[in-house]
């Protein structure tokens, strides 16, 4: 399953630079990034090419970081495809804790990345409906 890194960040200038700096120093490539904001603090969510190394680099620098399983679903990059996936989620009663998307190949493929309570179960449901769920190492290359 795809591993996402969640990093606790205070909402103050310089924190974004600090985190991206640590990743840059360790030669880690960011595939996607999102920030869940709670006013005085937030959680920065990162999909990277080497999550284990990124996680240890961040924790060694003293940051609070955790690895989380997420479901990365491949969808077509054209109108209506996310709506179709949303219909499936509704029918199967899947509730998203957090989600974000990014395009991998324009006009062709996008990835919808979701945090859910039970990632293994959701992976099964989505795969059964004919979607491709990204394997652990697919985002890690390049």
């Amino acid at each position: 399953m795809t591993k996402q890194i969640n990093v606790f960040v205070e909402n103050k200038p310089g924190r974004f630079k600090k985190i991206t700096g640590i990743l840059a120093e360790n030669g880690i490539n960011i595939r996607a990034i999102e920030i869940q904001d709670r006013g005085d603090y937030g959680i920065m969510k990162l999909l990277v090419n080497d999550p284990l190394r990124a996680h240890s680099a961040l924790t060694e620098a003293g940051l609070a970081a955790a690895l989380r399983d997420v479901v990365a679903i491949s969808i077509k990059d054209h109108p209506g495809s996310l709506f179709k996936l949303a219909e499936l989620f509704e029918v199967r009663g899947i509730n998203m804790l957090d989600a974000y998307g990014f395009v991998t190949q324009a006009q062709q493929e996008a990835i919808w990345c979701v945090e859910v309570e039970n990632p293994s179960e959701v992976t099964r449901v989505v795969a059964e409906a004919g979607y491709r769920v990204l394997a652990e190492d697919e985002l890690y290359e390049s």
Binding site: E10, Y41, G62, D98
Partner: protein, 437 residues
């Protein structure tokens, strides 16, 4: 449990003999005090001209209290009771509010101080086989030198590292396999927070015991330090006016601190008042020196809040115990009319595993109301990455605090290491209210 004594006869003497000794020493101390300009005038006013005017221990209540302010006014020499040639050392306090205070010592005073401190160190089970790293500041501050001489007297291998320079402290602990350390609780927590960053782990060290003092702290802080390092932590209490460390120390039972009553006469007084508290009730610790030659002090108001435990101790020492210091009488905060002590807040923070050991308390005004903010740090090892868990954590801390202090505080979560750390005494409380309001 094995009990070791430094001076078995004195430490276990029966109460009757101890009180008889106290009375003789009190009379001698009054005689000694009458040699100072300060006490000659003050005791003269109430008709005390000799130690013989005190015939019962209880008679001490005739004598007025001595306060920190008296010490300032007597600076530099109105409380000196011996010839200057007899003085072998003096310690002054930092005059943060203006005039400093001074305590002089004769050689006999220093020997007596060393004896009391050696009793405390021995009561924790430490021996000459230990390697002792003394992380308290050496110099005018009494924390460093006080333990230093006692540890040498016992025959421990002493590393006088003093405070600060954390990477070097770690190297010394590892290279010499230090078994016992002496530091403020906040400094030990600071060391732990920096260990990994400096490339060390607790397993590289050989720590068995720590003596902590110079800072009021909660039982939960002690437990946290014990768990983090896997060592026994003993509370120690002292103050420069009463020599420094060594006034009282926990024994291996780790339940309250034995106060050496052949050196100090203990009274528990109602804060901001002059009557004695009933036995076992919390009050301000008031001490009279019973052995000191150069600077005898009568009924000195420590400003520290504690209570007396007169129950027999399993270690068979007969000297009574004082509870851990709950704070200073002047530490009390009043927030929206509610009285509270920082130590209550600390105790709750230390019992929450998801937050670290560093915290800050801030009081400011929001409109006409006081606002209490408690800042804590996320403990990285307990972080799961779940924002809902963080919000629930904030609520849980707020509810726990509210049930203890009545006021509902604002709880802030910060990144590990975001709050300032202190190598000496920590500054935790920031009162930003305008005093002129």
């Amino acid at each position: 449990m094995e009990t070791r004594y430094w001076n078995r006869e004195r430490e276990t003497m029966d109460r009757e003999a101890l009180e008889k000794l106290q009375l003789e020493q009190l009379q001698a101390t009054v005689d000694q005090a009458l040699k100072t300009v300060f006490y000659k005038r003050r005791l003269g006013k109430i008709g005390i001209t000799s130690g013989r005017d005190i015939s019962l221990l209880r008679d001490i209540e005739k004598i007025p209290f001595t306060t920190k302010n008296d010490l300032r006014e007597a600076y530099p020499d109105k409380l000196l009771a011996v010839d200057r040639d007899e003085v072998v050392r003096l310690h002054t306090s930092s005059g943060t509010t203006g005039t400093p205070t001074v305590i002089y010592h004769t050689q006999r005073d220093l020997d007596a101080w060393t004896e009391l401190t050696a009793r405390g160190v021995t009561a924790t089970g430490a021996t000459r086989a230990d390697v002792f790293q003394n992380m308290m500041t050496y110099g005018l501050f009494t924390g460093g030198l006080g333990l230093h001489y006692a540890a040498e007297r016992i025959g421990m291998a002493v590393i006088p590292s003093s405070s600060g320079n954390t990477p070097r402290q770690m190297k010394l602990m590892r290279d010499f396999q230090t078994t016992v350390i002496h530091a403020t609780p906040s400094y030990i927590l600071h060391i732990h927070a920096k260990l990994a960053e400096e490339g060390y782990s607790v397993e590289d060290l050989n720590l068995k015991k720590a003596f902590i003092g110079a800072e009021a702290h909660s039982e939960n802080t002690r437990k946290k330090i014990e768990n983090l390092f896997g060592m026994e932590v003993y509370n120690s209490y002292g103050m420069s006016e009463m020599n420094g460390p060594g006034v009282s120390f926990e024994c291996v039972c780790k339940e309250d601190m034995h106060i050496w009553e052949d050196a100090y006469l203990v009274e528990m007084i109602r804060p901001q008042a002059s009557d004695r508290m009933p036995d076992g009730e919390e009050g301000e610790l008031v001490l009279t020196t019973l052995q000191r030659e150069a600077t005898p002090l009568l009924r000195y108001r420590s400003g520290d809040l504690t209570s007396l435990n007169t129950a027999p101790c399993a270690c068979r020492r007969t000297h009574h115990r004082i509870k851990r210091i709950r704070g200073r009488a002047d530490d009390m905060m009043i927030v929206n009319g509610v009285n509270m002590y920082p130590s209550t807040i600390e105790s709750i923070i230390m019992a929450v595993p998801e937050v670290g050991t560093n915290y800050q308390i801030c009081i400011d005004k929001q409109g006409s109301l006081d606002r209490l903010t408690v800042r804590t740090e996320i403990y990285s090892k307990m972080f799961t990455g779940d924002i809902k868990a963080l919000e629930a954590l904030k609520t849980r801390i707020r509810e726990k605090l509210k049930s203890a202090i009545i006021i509902s505080p604002v709880v802030e979560l910060h990144e590990p290491g975001a709050l300032p750390t202190y190598e000496g005494k920590a500054v935790r409380v920031f009162d930003l209210r305008d005093k002129n309001d």
